[in-house]
Subunit: 197 residues, 6 copies
């Protein structure tokens, strides 16, 4: 049994391991928190939060991207091997799926491994690939409106999603800045201030 | 085959590893015991009691939170690695699911690792997150009434559940104290007397 | 294909690892043998006999209880680690489930680890918990009548099941002694003569 | 696609690891070959031949019985640990299930570990238990008639199955000897000439 | 999406690890290639090609036969332990099942371990057992006609399948030689020129 | 929720680990990117991108081919053991299956292990086998037209697919070069410039 709660404001307290994405649900867009934490272990990836297979694959792909680019990201291979990584997506009663949380999961993981918090009032949505390209995703209008309502002031999107933003009446999204990216390292640059190239 | 038994009074004998939650079933609210025990092993998590996937994920998340905050909780990493942890939820004939036992599972695990019993006549309900935030849950009215009937005198809830308590006729819950929390360390403070920050 | 066989008398030859419970089937109550054996291994638990998930969880819980109470039970941790434990419930063609064999499984396991046979003409039924409490179960009337017919002279039950026995016409259960318990160590005391506290 | 083949005569060439049971199929009784072989490994049990879960559990139980009685059977624990055991039931296109091949599987395994072939023209059917008791099984009439047709001259059965044999018209089973057993070591005595007690 | 391709001629280029069987499909008989390869590993068996459970069990049984008869086959146990074995059955879009590829899988595996190619223009079909007996299979007429059409000049079959060949009009199978076998070592003798006894 | 995006041009930026295939979907042909990356590990194969079992088997087969031909490919066995290999097929919301990506997966893997990028403006489609033969696949017309539209100038196909290309009106595929192959090493020669024989 799950009751409805009023729309939440975006979190003020950004901590390492936390990243903020945007979800597209049956009842509109919503803020999507991705939490990650490290604990001593053997490089295992633990995924919770009622996630579907495609969303789990996004997390696996994000971790492989980090491993394959560990040098550029200045993340030590020792840490990748000696920590277990847990990614949790809160509100466990709600099933979640799809590839659009990819860049958010990547950001959460890099944030955890680097111990660096994501910028405040920022949200993002986009599919990731293993070679570092960001792909466009659906539900842009609903996601952007939900972000605006929640207090988000900056949104990272795939460049191929620009035309979906341009279809939204500008009066509804005044004051929101859009950052269009093509590559995953751009996301990490804007969200975490990390320079990889 | 399972027969009905009369409503039970809350347990008098609190021991380390035991925590008391509140469940919301088809026939109303109920007391929910969460038991945990440690035995020499390899850090494995064993979950029994006819638990659904979401409830199992709560347990996994609680354990990751403890591992990631082991220093603050003053729980040795050696113990986290050398013990297997078993969480059992009694009344195995009844399927149980949902995220609302999260703070109860966390309390049971910390109680087991610290060897410290939870306060008597206390019950709780709330979803946990990996970053330590407590989320509101459903079925508050039924849970609170069941707690009162069973002899509970203090209930820990998420601050976002306060308005659900305020909708209950005060005549039915006289003498029950409500503690509203936002963070998981507050739960551990009230339930176990543990200071983490 | 399975044929019916005439109601069996309770076994005369109690050996270490064997315990006798009571089952509640569609056609009435029945004697339920729980067999366990140890063999050199790595502490693995093997469960056979067409057991449902809830019954398997009872076995897992019984083993965790033994591990967590190894000192009190005077069972060496070395033995718990170096033996594989097999629990088999005969009559493999018949599916079995439910938590009511819990105290019988616990008794069978402790009997195997201690090398001590259970008392003759004794049977039991009750759910176990991880913290050592015995919970009431259903089907008491059918189970007790089947026990009487099979030659059982002593039955261990949860104290909360006393009222279900008192509802049975005394003429049908003359000569049967009932032992009502609240804790699992009481079961081990009566069935195996083991003192743990 | 599977075609019918004429009823086969029982195998003349008994080798270590091979045992002959009796099956009860939709179209009557049949000879059931149980094959086992050992190969260097780690004590793993491999089961093939389109076996259902109950039949697989019989094999697991047979192996545990052998492990728990290794001393009496004069089978070295080193061999039990260093060999993988494969049990295959030929005619892979036909699904097989039920507990009645238990004593045949036990015989096949002991035959393999002892390197001793089973007696010729012998067949058997009966459920096994972990404590060494043989239980009665169904389909006796069909199984016995199929055994007779195939050239079997001796059949091992559970003592509780005697009355099912006595219901068969003696004219159909002239010349067949029945050995009724209560314990698994009796099976090994008659089939393999092994003395365990 | 899979299109039809014209009936293929049997492969000219036999290499170690490749064996040729006969399949029985909804649209008639067909040539069935079984490929196997070894790579440094830990004795793992990898099965691909859209295989059903029964066909996978044939492969497992073939490998156990080789392990149990390694000495006779002059295959070193070191090689059996240090190589992973992959069996692939091409045309991955087509589901395949049944036990009739057993002798072909055995031949492919022995061919790979011995580094010896199978004879050209030979095909085979037959179920294997763990003790080395070859069992008859179905679909003989369709398989034999497909073999003839594809250029096969020699076919290995179980002796119990002889009568199915004799039911085929001889005009359709002129020039094809049939080799009837009872034991698996005969297959290896004819197909690979290996003497094991 | 997944929206349509305009037909993409083939990628300009070929990097090691990336190969370009052709897919046949319900709405016509499409470019199919296969990405692979290596990270320190234990030779594990990770497959993501919403892949069906047959497509996963293609990847397993490609990796076994590489392992069995490591010497010819001049790929060190140490690298095959010490790296985990991840193959991801982007656009995770779209289920993908079938064997036709086989040669593309092989090319992606060899490209990753050799650190050598595939030629630009090249695409391919074909099933692989364990022994190195390329098999024809379906949907050639749709795949070729999609390749042409996307800017592909060279397509590698199985020789048995030549007749399907010859059925396409030449006006639609002017300027596209077709390379017909029979063996997997030819693919690696044309796509990566690797000589293996
Ligand atoms: Ca929300
Ligand atoms: Ca997102
Ligand atoms: Ca209750
Ligand atoms: Ca609760
Ligand atoms: Ca019975
Ligand atoms: Ca019982
Ligand atoms: Ca038969
Ligand atoms: Ca049998
Ligand atoms: Ca074919
Ligand atoms: Ca075949
Ligand atoms: Ca596309
Ligand atoms: Ca392709």
């Amino acid at each position: 049994g799950v009751e409805k709660f009023p729309k939440e404001r975006i979190a003020e307290d950004m901590v390492p391991g936390l990243a903020i994405g945007l979800a597209w649900t049956r009842v509109g867009g919503d803020i999507l928190y991705i939490e990650s934490s490290l604990s001593e272990g053997k490089g295992k990836l633990i995924l919770t939060g009622n996630l579907g297979d495609v969303m789990k694959e996004s997390a696996t792909t994000a971790l492989s991207y980090i491993k394959a680019n560990a040098d550029k990201l200045n993340i030590s291979k020792e840490n990748l091997e000696k920590f277990d990584v847990h990614i949790h997506v809160p509100e466990g009663a709600i099933p979640k799926d799809g590839p659009s949380a990819g860049i958010t999961m990547l950001t959460a993981l890099v944030s955890a491994f680097k111990g660096k918090a994501m910028k405040k009032n920022l949200a993002m949505t986009g599919e990731i690939t293993l070679r570092g390209k960001v792909l466009p995703v659906g539900g842009i209008k609903e996601k952007v409106l939900a972000a605006k309502r929640s207090g988000v002031d900056t949104i990272i999107l795939c460049a191929d999603n620009r035309r979906h933003v341009e279809e939204i009446d500008p009066r509804y999204i005044g004051g929101v800045e859009f950052i269009y990216v093509e590559r995953m390292h751009e996301v990490l640059h804007y969200a975490l201030g990390i320079e990889t190239f």
